[in-house]
């Protein structure tokens, strides 16, 4: 038994159904772990679907290992089960930043977003992009931030890929925390710039460019 969000949970228990995976808490050799299982999608052709699930499962494990080397807090992968396209990982008992930002004070919000900026900058400088940066993919354990969900991550030092990461985060903030979105993003920018340095300007410029490009496409 385990207390999760104030409730005694029987194991294994499905705690989240995401877009591509089901997340379970379970026991594994006496330890409480997370199992992230990529489930088949009926809307994709079977061959395409199976390719995507297998590739992303092993890819995510690789990304998590490499990101950890850069000093970014992520769950440790304990086991890869390609049969069921699952990853067994450490359980981080916290809450998503999406939830937490609604619950904490203004100065705490600022601290969290600044810290997130520092983390993303360190990761980018290390040559990794996340590919799906949203406030749901950051878990705060009493203020310590963990990045999760690296299935769309990549090794890249391209300004464009970095800009896309920032764009995704900015949009995530704007869509669910629009009441104080500007303040959140400003703190994020501070943290990012602090670690990344002067060249961060290029990344923010690229972010704007990518956003404008997709907005309304003029048919030629």
């Amino acid at each position: 038994m385990l207390t999760f969000r104030g409730v005694e949970a029987k194991l294994p228990t499905l705690i989240y159904t995401g877009a591509e995976a089901e997340i379970y808490i379970q026991e594994w050799f006496g330890e409480i772990v997370i199992r992230k299982q990529r489930v088949p999608k009926s809307y994709r052709a079977p061959m395409l679907d199976s390719n995507i699930r297998h590739m992303r499962t092993s890819h995510e494990a690789t990304m998590l290992r490499e990101v950890r080397k850069l000093g970014v807090a992520v769950p440790t992968v304990q086991h890869i089960d390609q049969e069921s396209t699952s990853l067994i990982m450490d359980f981080i008992n916290g809450r998503t930043l999406k939830e937490e930002l609604h619950l904490i004070s203004k100065s705490e919000r600022r601290t969290r977003c600044r810290a997130l900026g520092e983390i993303l900058a360190a990761m980018h400088l290390g040559g990794v992009v996340h590919g799906d940066v949203t406030l749901s993919n950051v878990i705060s354990q009493n203020g310590k931030l963990f990045l999760i969900d690296f299935g769309l991550g990549n090794f890249s030092k391209e300004v464009e890929a970095r800009g896309v990461d920032l764009l995704l985060l900015n949009r995530s903030m704007r869509s669910t925390h629009y009441m104080y979105h500007a303040e959140l993003f400003r703190s994020f920018v501070e943290g990012y710039r602090h670690v990344f340095g002067r060249k961060s300007r290029e990344v923010f410029e690229k972010m704007g460019e990518v956003e404008r490009r997709g907005r309304y496409f003029e048919r030629g």
């Binding site: 999608k41 052709a45 395409l48 869509s175 496409f217």
Partner: protein
């Protein structure tokens, strides 16, 4: 109370009469056809619109059995779209509004696709999937505006089909032609599948599809694989947005909503998340006057009216920049 809506953002010049409760009395249109192998030429499309404007307007009033004097307002799509095309609709609407001395109501074309979808399908609080030549966007309503949750980072899904078709000289509408060809496909060819967060990117898929064709793959197989990959990518982005927002309805609207494969995939996505998928049907998938007229009704009711002098066209008017005072949430 009758309202006239005028649409001229891209290749369609449309006019429609609706009333204050959303009954659609007419939906007339005339579509500019580009020659096979080439896209819309903005100036030529605008010339087309000028030529057909009078007859389309007459037809809209005649079908509705309404005379111009009975109109209570003129709604016009001021953007987003092609400047020269937009100016035709705006000019017509301004003249009618001042001649008849009735309000001129500015409408955002993309919001029109959303509102006609909600009106005709009965959706209440959907995650909107707007797919057309001009848009590939995933949006949900919150805090007085439609917020973008995902979109294309380069070309739209409509563009992907159009540009592919143009390269191989397929006649328009491209989507239908491509869909027809997929029926005779015999195999799936792996092509680049690019999803970034809730976003998609189609430019690499376009290049790779054309390259496969040149390398000798059958056209039917390339069409099938390109459609399968592009629609699956969007379905995945929609599924991600659905999981993120927790919405229980999907609204598929815009010209590409007519694509059966996309509709089928989004219905499957909805089923996985115990949600419902509403899909707009013809004639309200492609650009139409009714979407503008009805959004005009909603806007005017909420007090959105333009003075003639500030009714200039807005070719890059973003849907998330439009205040929606008539909707709660």
């Amino acid at each position: 109370m009758y309202y006239l809506g005028i649409e001229s953002t891209a290749h369609t010049f449309g006019a429609s009469v609706v009333d204050e409760v959303g009954k659609i009395y007419s939906n007339a249109q005339d579509v500019y056809k580009s020659v096979a192998g080439s896209g819309i030429h903005p100036r030529e499309a605008a010339e087309h619109h000028s030529e057909v404007a009078a007859s389309v307007l007459r037809e809209a009033l005649r079908d509705a059995h309404v005379s111009a004097k009975e109109l209570s307002g003129i709604a016009v799509a001021l953007g987003p779209g092609l400047g020269p095309c937009l100016r035709v609709g705006a000019t017509v609407a301004r003249s009618l509004s001042s001649y008849l001395a009735i309000p001129l109501i500015p409408v955002n074309h993309a919001i029109g696709h959303i509102e006609i979808g909600i009106l005709t399908t009965g959706a209440i609080d959907p995650l909107v999937v707007l797919v057309s030549g001009g848009h590939t966007a995933i949006a949900a309503f919150s805090g007085g505006r439609w917020r973008i949750f995902g979109e294309t980072e380069d070309i739209t899904i409509g563009n992907l089909f159009d540009m592919f078709a143009r390269e191989i000289n397929l006649p328009s509408p491209a989507g239908q032609q491509i869909e027809k060809l997929t029926q005779n496909a015999s195999k799936f060819i792996p092509l680049p599948y690019v999803v970034k967060g809730n976003d998609v990117s189609y430019s690499g898929l376009l290049t790779a599809s054309l390259a496969k064709l040149r390398s000798g793959e059958r056209l039917e197989d390339v069409c099938y694989s390109m459609q399968e990959v592009s629609c699956s990518m969007l379905a995945e982005a929609v599924e991600r947005s659905l999981a993120y927002t927790g919405k229980k309805e999907i609204l598929l609207t815009g010209g590409v909503a007519a694509n059966k494969s996309l509709k089928d995939k989004l219905e499957k996505v909805a089923a996985i998340h115990t949600a419902v998928c509403h899909t707009v049907t013809s004639p309200y998938t492609g650009d139409n006057g009714a979407q503008i007229a009805w959004t005009g009704v909603l806007s005017q009711r909420a007090g959105v009216i333009a003075q003639v002098e500030d009714s200039q066209v807005r070719p890059r008017w973003r849907l998330e920049d439009v205040d929606i005072p008539w909707r709660r949430g």
